[in-house]
């Protein structure tokens, strides 16, 4: 009974969670430092210096960060609005059931479907042509592979909005936010103020961890920008996978540098939010 079944199971769990990550991390780190790899010739910091000297890498980092920020903000705001509308409705209205639909979309399928809805030769464009709103293909506004990442944002919202809406609605009910809203209104708050000062903050505070987790998901978004994104700037995951399979073999270590950087960031952010909460709670 030195080990015991319990300890074996727990050890197995910890190993499954951490060992592969550690192994991957060590390999990529080694590669980025010139230790592993067919084309590498021993320890060097060159690759890291090259990464941080490249505009490409920085624009990818900044772009991914902004995309994450805007995506999660849009999701929160829309979910907030929808929860405000749904909170007084019966549990499972048709609209609410319909909102479950995106949960059955793989990111690949969602990206694909929206591409053909939004692209200049897509369904909306054809409808607007049929209605005489646009004359030809070029007069339709560009929403895929576009400057503002409209397509990507839309798909992000599409995929995540349902979950947030359901959670927000359930939480608003159990926190009796509607009553508080009435109270605030009677104290002279406008509808907008009620929403921005009371409704959203209450929900955001309650789901802080979940919001962070989804932000981390958005940081790692891959298929959607692969289908709907521009060639530059690219999100981190696309940057990494492109560098790793680039024409230039010299660029492979850069991909590993970025992979190390990305996973270290995720690790730090997660550890901060997961374990800080614990220590303040106890």
């Amino acid at each position: 009974m030195i080990l015991g079944r319990k300890n074996i199971v727990l050890t197995a769990f910890v190993l499954i969670c951490l060992l592969p990550l550690l192994m991957g991390f060590v390999y990529s780190l080694g590669y980025s430092l010139g230790v592993f790899g067919l084309m590498n010739e021993g320890f060097t910091l060159d690759h890291w210096l090259r990464l941080f000297a490249s505009k490409d890498a920085w624009s990818s980092l900044i772009y991914t960060f902004l995309l994450t920020l805007v995506s999660i903000t849009l999701v929160i705001v829309f979910a907030g609005l929808l929860s405000r509308a749904f909170v007084s409705k019966p549990e499972r209205s048709f609209t609410q059931k319909l909102l479950l639909l995106p949960l059955l979309f793989a990111p690949v399928a969602a990206g694909f479907a929206w591409y053909y809805v939004l692209s200049p030769a897509g369904i909306l464009s054809r409808i607007s042509h049929a209605l005489g709103l646009t004359e030809d293909i070029t007069s339709f506004p560009r929403m895929v592979n576009d400057d503002w990442s409209i397509g990507i944002l839309l798909v992000h919202v599409f995929l995540v909005l349902p979950i947030f809406t359901f959670l927000f609605t359930a939480q608003a009910k159990s926190m009796n936010l509607l009553e508080m809203n009435k109270l605030a209104t009677s104290l002279g708050s406008s509808r907008l103020q009620c929403f921005t000062k009371l409704w959203l903050p209450a929900l955001v505070k309650r789901f802080k961890l979940l919001i962070v987790l989804y932000a981390v998901f958005f940081m790692g978004t891959y298929e959607v920008p692969l289908i709907l994104g521009q060639s530059s700037p690219r999100v981190l995951t696309v940057f990494i996978s492109e560098k790793l399979t680039m024409f230039s073999l010299d660029d492979i270590p850069l991909g590993h540098c970025m992979a190390v950087f990305y996973s270290a960031c995720i690790f730090i952010v997660l550890s901060f939010f997961l374990y800080r909460q614990k220590s303040t709670a106890s």
Partner: protein, 274 residues
Amino acid sequence: MMKLGKSTLALFVLLPLLCVIYLSVVSAWTYPLLFDAEFSLKHYLVLFSGESELAWSFVQSVLLSLVMATLGLLFGFFVAKEIAFSKYGSRLLKLAFYPYMIAPVVLGSMLQFYFVRWGLSASFFGVMLAQSLFILPYAVLIMSSFWSENILQLFKLGQSLGGDAKTVKRTLLYPLAKPWMLLTFAQCFLISWFEYGITQVLGIGKVKTLSVISMQFLKEANPHPAAVAAVLMIVPVLLTFIILYRWQNKAQGNWSAIAPINNSLSHHPKKVGA
């Protein structure tokens, strides 16, 4: 106002589904053809031609997802129990987030070396193993919300009313865990069903799940077979869920249908966008 909002929302949610269904039944789809395009089921008929890659891909996806869901369920059920009642339970449990939150495509790239070295890449088993890396921890996350102090109390109560461990498991534990198990199974199934990044990287395109194959068609700018793949990805799952939902509601009270979903959704996000 309300009505407008409702229809906008309905459109937003339905448009992509309608779009893939539409794309799967048109051909020679040049701009600006819309309803005057050529409609046919020929992209579907290919499925039954015997040599169809897509049909095989569907079978392979179903198999893979079923295996992953089963593994997730078993692993989640037993490991979550040990974790829930361990001294460091909540701290240990949080470790499960790490593999789950790293983008699979990056995780796959970082691990490619090992998979190749150990002869695991480009095989069904390798992809299974790769998906296990984050599906198993995730399953533990969901199942651990079942293993509460309350469940332990009920278990002991069952024993004190005269049931031995086996009987109590049969009459109390499993029936109580059923909704959680169903949820874990379904979630693991879906994660595997949706997965693209790690399957592509470590399967080297040889393990052609539906998501891998629809991306391939997409890169060929061949939207119609890609749409068939997407329909195959969405519609069977949609039907299964409708049936399950109906059956759950009929078979049991509200308790079982709602409890775990509320519980686990708020703690553990569903994998998306990665």
